[in-house]
Symmetry: C2
Subunit: 384 residues, 2 copies
């Protein structure tokens, strides 16, 4: 049995990871869980899966959880220190399912402890791709992607020589506003932005899918995960979300991974790779039933976030962290109803324009850039 | 440099194999060529690629070719003995690009000599799949498929564990009569049947694509090549021929290989595998340019050959050889204008119905069944 740690266990990916573990009874057991503030769900998970360690966001939550779990031999930790302790605890694999830039330090802690990492937190590679991949190489740690697109690429590359890889093609559903005219985009509501056509995901990533920022972040992620240069990363809008992504080989052959949109599949593959496990819950893909798959070029004009993210990736250094932090603040403000949908790219662009890039920053430099960008973005939001 | 033998060098696959070898200058050199009657083209090929051995169909052709090549140090052989000698000559890989049941003995000769085989001749596996795969296993020889569909499956399986394979999905263009109503099929002409929508191939295989017999033969081929049971082999009609085939894994993940329809790609992969080689001649696949891919269930009623082939495969023993031989005769008669298009399945069914299956035949038994089926099919044709 593989010992699994889940960071972000109460979120969308975290809960599905637990579903996968439960369905694969006997293959895995949970030794550590960490979550932010959802004490109730975390208590339920702790009772069900009996981890050795549990971490919550702050001390008051920890006190509450400790009280609730007093009948069980489970240590309850809190804050960043608690999160890092769970990340580095004795285990076979750490699933990083935290949302946002908060995923960086625990991912590094898991890598430095030599743990195999299943990475669902894309901001880690977006903000600190160079550091994270260098540390992983130095510690002989494999980073297995959980994102359906990167899992697809990872699966396609399994039997291929890296030197034969010519490029990757990330598919994008196009989000709920794929066909919305530019002039209407500034008026779309939070509710509309949360209607993702194919995937049921967390709130932040769903808004990012509506602005296509999510695809931009994935481009940076793919750059670091697979060592592919930006010009060799293409995006294809594929509204049915059946082809999860593709790789192009030097001989012109293209390999793709397909499946019904169900995050349990890439999550499970990240846990079982290089093996696979039958999953009774997943439905079988029938192409005749689906009938047709369609493809179009992405619209970089209507969805400027996509352009900004790729530009930030190419500029490298602290810029991706700045772009990402500004986006997090802007998405938060949009979700709270403070700003409009098209203010998200405006704020990202504004903060990026204010930033003087620091090349090859250390972790501290990235965190500093992240803090600075949040302040700058906040200023713009407050002016609204 | 890899030493390559090409059996069937003047045919569609043979000439393209030489194109691939020429484009990959320095990777391969041709040591042996064999062809049927096209002395002129074989002379040209021999002059250009300077093989050590050349074989032609009969003695008079051999005498003519010998005369034409008298200025070169090339041995010219003839007949079945000549073909078998070239098949087993010292080489790194033998490309079997012969058309029809004539491919069986030279394929076995190459396998018994320990040569890695690139197999474009599907009748070999159709008629004697058990013997050929058992011999390959016994001699530690790898059979690499050249057919675009089987090459696709082979490429998809590269990084996967065989025990995780749940099934394969062969794509079929549907041929030129995909949308032709049943009542019109009996009146279609040879010229119409030779208009394949996507692939430019030899005559026999193009007619087989029009009756869907080609896909039926591929099902049997896939059964032997990949060790997949018949119920786990599905066919999907995909008119654009962009997805060349797919594999289904036990976890619900589906892997696919895509590319523009160009036989040089699977031919080259069969020669370079597990490596790949940049090919300047191949165009890059652009999904947005193609726009849409569509899928439908195959129509086993309008295309009974598909059904008969799969039935023959399931019955096993001598039945696939009988089905294949009857089809070869019927396709020949249709191409000569002697019978109608729907007489092809009628003749195949008639001959299959007359046949008493011999289980686990030896090569002699298969060849005997093949001869018998040709005679039976001929009788029906002559009655027309």
């Amino acid at each position: 049995m593989k010992r699994i740690v889940i960071l972000g266990s109460t979120g969308s990916i975290g809960t599905r990871t637990l579903e996968v573990i439960e369905a694969a009874r006997g293959e895995f057991f949970v030794v550590g869980l960490a979550a932010g503030r959802n004490v109730e769900l975390l208590e339920e998970q702790a009772r069900r899966y009996r981890p050795r360690l549990v971490a919550v966001g702050d001390e008051s939550a920890a006190r509450e959880l400790s009280g609730r779990l007093s009948d069980l031999p489970i240590r309850v930790l809190s804050g960043e220190a608690g999160l890092l302790e769970v990340a580095a605890m004795e285990a076979d694999q750490v699933v990083v399912a935290l949302v946002g830039a908060v995923g960086l330090l625990p991912t590094l802690a898991a890598i430095r402890a030599g743990r195999r990492v299943a990475l669902a937190n894309k901001e880690t590679l977006v903000t600190a791709g160079r550091i994270v991949t260098e540390e992983a190489r130095a510690h002989g740690v494999q980073i297995v992607p959980v994102d359906s697109e990167h899992s697809a690429i990872f699966q396609c590359l399994a039997g291929q020589r890296r030197e034969d890889l010519a490029g990757v093609i990330l598919t994008a559903s196009g989000g709920p506003f794929r066909e919305t005219p530019a002039e209407e985009l500034s008026r779309v509501t939070v509710k509309e932005a949360l209607q993702h056509p194919n995937w049921s995901m967390g709130g932040k990533i769903t808004i990012d899918s509506a602005t296509l920022m999510n695809k931009g972040l994935e481009v940076i992620e793919a750059h670091w995960l697979f060592g592919v240069d930006y010009p060799q990363i293409r995006i294809v809008v594929h509204p049915q979300s059946i082809i999860h992504s593709l790789v192009e080989m030097v001989d012109g052959s293209v390999l793709a991974q397909l499946g019904l949109p169900d995050m349990r599949l890439p999550i499970q593959y990240a846990l079982t790779h290089p093996k696979r496990l039958a999953h009774r819950a997943t439905r079988r893909l029938s192409l005749p039933e689906i009938g047709r798959l369609s493809f179009e070029e992405p619209d970089f004009q209507r969805f400027p976030c996509l352009r900004y993210a790729i530009e930030a990736g190419k500029m490298d250094g602290t810029m991706p962290a700045v772009m990402n932090a500004a986006n997090e603040v802007a998405v938060g403000a949009f979700s709270a109803g403070t700003i409009g949908f098209m203010d998200i790219p405006r704020i990202v662009a504004h903060v990026m324009n204010q930033h003087a890039v620091v090349a090859r920053p250390l972790v501290e430099g990235i965190l500093e850039a992240d803090r600075w960008a949040r302040q700058e973005a906040d200023k713009v939001v407050r002016r609204k």
